[in-house]
Amino acid sequence: METIYKIPFAVLEVPPIKIKKPSFIRIPTPMVVFGMVLFSYFLVTGGIVYDVIVEPPSIGSTTDEFGHSRPVAFMQYRVNGQYIMEGLASSFLFVLGGIGFVVLDKANLTGLSRLQRTMLLTLGFFCVIAAFFGSRIFMTIKLPGYLK
């Protein structure tokens, strides 16, 4: 085997440098990967692929009876279309709901002080309830006949 190895080095010369892998490059911990997954979930459920392909406006506009153009936040009457802003706002609510449940889980750990626990619980409940009712309201705005 050594003879095969020696062939390229008969022609080439090894330069006298030492390259080490930098120590700050490490395999990421599970929770870091979870954070990256959550960010990609935020982007995908916000309809970023739809935004890139169909290129809708960021917010729609309509003209009222005086001729002024008024902004329209939600593309109504269609489940399969969206404006960019409404997509990102809704996926933010989804991720907020998820984070709320995670915070509720973390609020049960031992060794937390009373203040910390109260804050975590309040944050958790607020996130979950806001996300649930928020996404429900968004859907009602988008589809006026929702749940009728």
Binding site: P30, L38, V44, V52, G81, G87, V95, G98, R114, F132
Partner: protein, 737 residues
């Protein structure tokens, strides 16, 4: 490499889990059933039996619920096959049930794609038809003589009940019994799955989801136990999956991805080695038995990842074996040599084979998943299908509701307790979220994993908070008050009630969505009038049966490709193009005929021996999915080949760039064949109060070209609400020009 933990006898584990459960019961102090009166003392059943009874009740309720919630269309209309693709599957199943498997496998259909014909035996996934025909024969063998149509209509709901059971088993393997039950209950009504498996939607996805989850269940079992038995079962389940749907490519890439992730995170062990080697070898050999798949598993790029990981598995196992035999120094030298040789050889061979064309690159349908803009720029047929559009946020919420909020939580619980099978469900979840974002149709693949992850999430939250509930234990009086946790009991009750409320709203949402959005047969339309009564539009079947009864047997019908399957199945006439869309040039020829003026179109129609032309027109009723709305796709596809290069999309728009059918519309549009066929005699019809005659209710405009006569066609039949219009192509003049 050999782990002592893997030799735990399963019986010991079972006993241990029972013991833990009983302990928890004692801690909680309540049993599932209240105390019976003394004279019913003999009916006090043990904890294990209570647990089994509860599981049985929940699973059977979920299975029955999943079957019944898919029956809205059958109750509102009748048991009829829906949409377009299911009609082809229905026709093939009828053929299979009557002729037998060998003639089905060798079937060449000369009544579609005239004059080319279609080799059906080699271009379909036979799993669905074989399953339905087998069920049909089994039922007939026990003298339950129901028609093939009924078997086809109710097959998808039946398999959804089986999916509920498989989901329970899969989630039980991944986490525990509680999450299994919640996931099973959720998947029974999740709208994302219901949309493709209602009664009447007789399509591949109806059984494919069951096969996919079965394969995943077997794979998780194989990874956990490392036994040859489960790996072989996984390969057999994979074979069933390959026979039922083209989406099997997802499985054959997800399982190697899982193995690769386990290698990267240092969890590779002999269990994974046995499991993956068996599954890959047996699975590939079995998958090549389906003629449609053929030699693709060893030739196409979509399967190369599995092959690569298989090789990597062997190398990794061999390296581990050598490491245990050699000294460190010898091992290092050998490893470096082998690694360089293998990498160089595989790269060179791979590049050479791809350059020579032996390994085909990723095909259009799957390539557009990796690069979503590819279909929009290059393949208009794929881009035109509405199911292939990217997904918006509202589709996610509409199809999944609370599951969208719970999925990250499920991922969190999986990440906090990483093990071999959790990594699998994490990979499945992340990849399917991405693919569902690219194509709306793949929401179907996302729905099961959302249910699994949400089941894990709900059980995670509830089990944490259930423990905080105060135990009403009359025996012990001591109560530990935790100063750092103010109103533990009340908070826990509130969380549990909140979760219950969320799940209840989930059921209301799912049932509403199923009833309103996903239960329409598409072949029968209904609309509600001003006074609230419903009016049924049965025009499609009316037109197809007219064709069946009033045209010669060998008549050729030209229509746009959407209606091809329905025409062959119900009207039993030869057609030019159908939903299979395998020949873009032929479809383009039909598109050219539809977009050209009458005389040019007549040449194309004579060339293709067309005797009848069928168009769908929604202007009278307000039916929006008619051929005028699809017309631009006909122009685009018609102009995409050489013979149609004179057809330019811009000619059909006004100078301002609008698509208009009124007087301002482009003269090319107002004189083309499609326009004339749709609006013949429409100029004399009054459609709405206060509007002039010839008012198109879909485009909301009075049509521009009203009084014209057709030169080369004559009107054969128009249905009651003018939705389907059939024209007969006139023969050549007796005395020439």
């Amino acid at each position: 490499m050999y782990d002592k933990k893997d030799h735990f006898p399963t019986i010991y584990k079972f006993c241990r889990s029972q013991f833990h459960f009983v302990q928890a019961q004692r801690r909680f102090g309540f049993t599932i059933f209240p105390a019976f009166p003394k004279w019913l003392g003999i009916y006090r059943i043990s904890i294990e039996k209570q647990e089994t009874l509860l599981k049985l009740i929940v699973l059977s309720a979920a299975a029955i619920l999943s079957f019944s919630t898919r029956l809205f269309a059958v109750l509102r209309f009748e048991s009829v096959i829906h949409e377009f693709d299911p009609y082809f599957n229905f026709r093939s199943t009828k053929y299979l049930a009557q002729e037998g498997f060998y003639s089905f496998h060798n079937w060449f259909d000369s009544r579609a794609w005239y004059p080319l014909g279609r080799i059906i035996g080699g271009t379909i996934y036979p799993g669905l038809m074989v399953t339905a025909a087998a069920l049909y024969h089994v039922l007939h063998a026990v003298n339950i003589t129901i028609d093939v149509r009924e078997v086809c209509v109710f097959l998808a709901p039946l398999f959804s009940s089986l999916t509920v059971l498989v989901t329970y088993y899969l989630t039980k393997e991944l986490k525990d019994v509680g999450s299994g039950l919640v996931a099973a209950a959720m998947i029974s009504i999740v709208p994302g799955y219901i949309s493709r498996s209602v009664a009447g939607s007789y399509d591949n996805e109806g059984i494919a989801i069951f096969c996919m989850l079965l394969t995943y269940y077997m794979w998780v079992k194989a990874v956990k136990t490392g036994s040859l038995f489960w790996s072989t079962l996984c390969a057999l389940a994979y074979f069933y999956m390959v026979s039922s749907w083209g989406g099997y490519v997802f499985l054959i890439n997800l399982i190697p991805l899982h193995v690769l992730t386990l290698m990267v995170t240092g969890r590779f062990s002999h269990r994974i080695y046995v499991a993956y080697s068996t599954v890959y070898v047996l699975g590939t050999i079995l998958s090549m038995q389906i003629s449609f798949v053929g030699f693709q598993p060893v030739q196409s790029s979509e399967h190369m990842a599995a092959f690569g990981v298989f090789g990597l598995c062997q190398i990794h196992a061999f390296v581990d074996y050598l490491r245990s035999k050699l000294t460190q120094q010898q091992f290092d030298a050998l490893f470096r040599f082998l690694a360089t040789v293998v990498v160089v050889v595989s790269v060179v061979v791979g590049a050479a084979l791809t350059a020579l064309g032996k390994i085909s690159p990723w095909t259009g349908r799957f390539y557009s998943l990796l690069d979503p803009s590819y279909a929009k720029n290059n393949i208009p047929i794929i881009a035109s299908v509405s199911e292939h559009q990217p997904t918006s946020w509202s589709s996610f919420y509409f199809d999944l509701q609370i599951l969208v909020l719970l999925c990250p939580v499920g991922l969190y619980f999986c990440f906090s307790k990483l093990n071999d099978h959790n990594i699998f469900i994490i990979l499945y979840g992340v990849t399917s979220v991405y693919f569902a974002g690219v194509m709306v149709r793949l929401m179907l693949v996302l729905a099961p994993v959302m249910c699994v992850l949400s089941g894990i999430a709900v059980t995670g939250i509830l089990s944490v908070y259930m423990r905080n509930l105060d135990v009403i234990d009359t025996k012990t009086r001591k109560k530990k008050v935790d100063t750092s946790y103010p109103v533990k009991n009340e908070i826990a009750t509130f969380v549990i009630l909140m979760m219950t409320f969320f799940l209840i709203t989930y059921t209301f949402h799912s049932t509403w969505v199923t009833a309103e959005a996903y239960s329409s047969p598409s072949i029968v339309l209904s609309a509600s009038q001003h006074d609230g009564s419903r009016i049924i539009f049965d025009d499609f079947r009316e037109a197809y049966y007219w064709l069946r009864q009033n045209t010669p047997e060998d008549a050729k019908v030209m229509s746009w490709w959407d209606y091809g399957y329905q025409i062959t199945a119900m009207a039993n006439r030869t057609i030019l193009v159908d939903n299979n869309t395998w020949n873009n040039t032929h479809i383009s020829r039909v598109g050219q005929a539809m977009s050209s003026p009458e005389d040019k179109a007549y040449e194309i129609m004579r060339e293709l021996d067309v005797s009848y032309v069928l168009v769908i027109f929604g202007g009278l009723t307000g039916y929006a999915s008619d051929d005028i709305n699809k017309f631009l796709w006909m122009v685009r596809i018609g102009g995409s080949t050489d013979k149609g290069s004179h057809i330019k999309e811009a000619d059909y728009f006004t100078p301002q760039g609008e698509f208009r059918v009124d007087r301002e519309g482009s003269p090319v549009l107002l004189n083309c064949l499609m326009y004339k066929m749709c609006y013949y005699r429409f100029g004399q019809v009054y459609t709405e109060q206060g509007k002039p005659s010839g008012y198109d209710r879909v485009r909301n405009a009075e049509i521009g070209n009203k009084d014209f006569e057709l030169d080369v066609l004559e009107e054969a039949y128009t249905t009651e609400h003018w939705i389907v219009r059939i024209y007969k192509v006139k023969d050549l003049n007796n005395r020439g020009a």
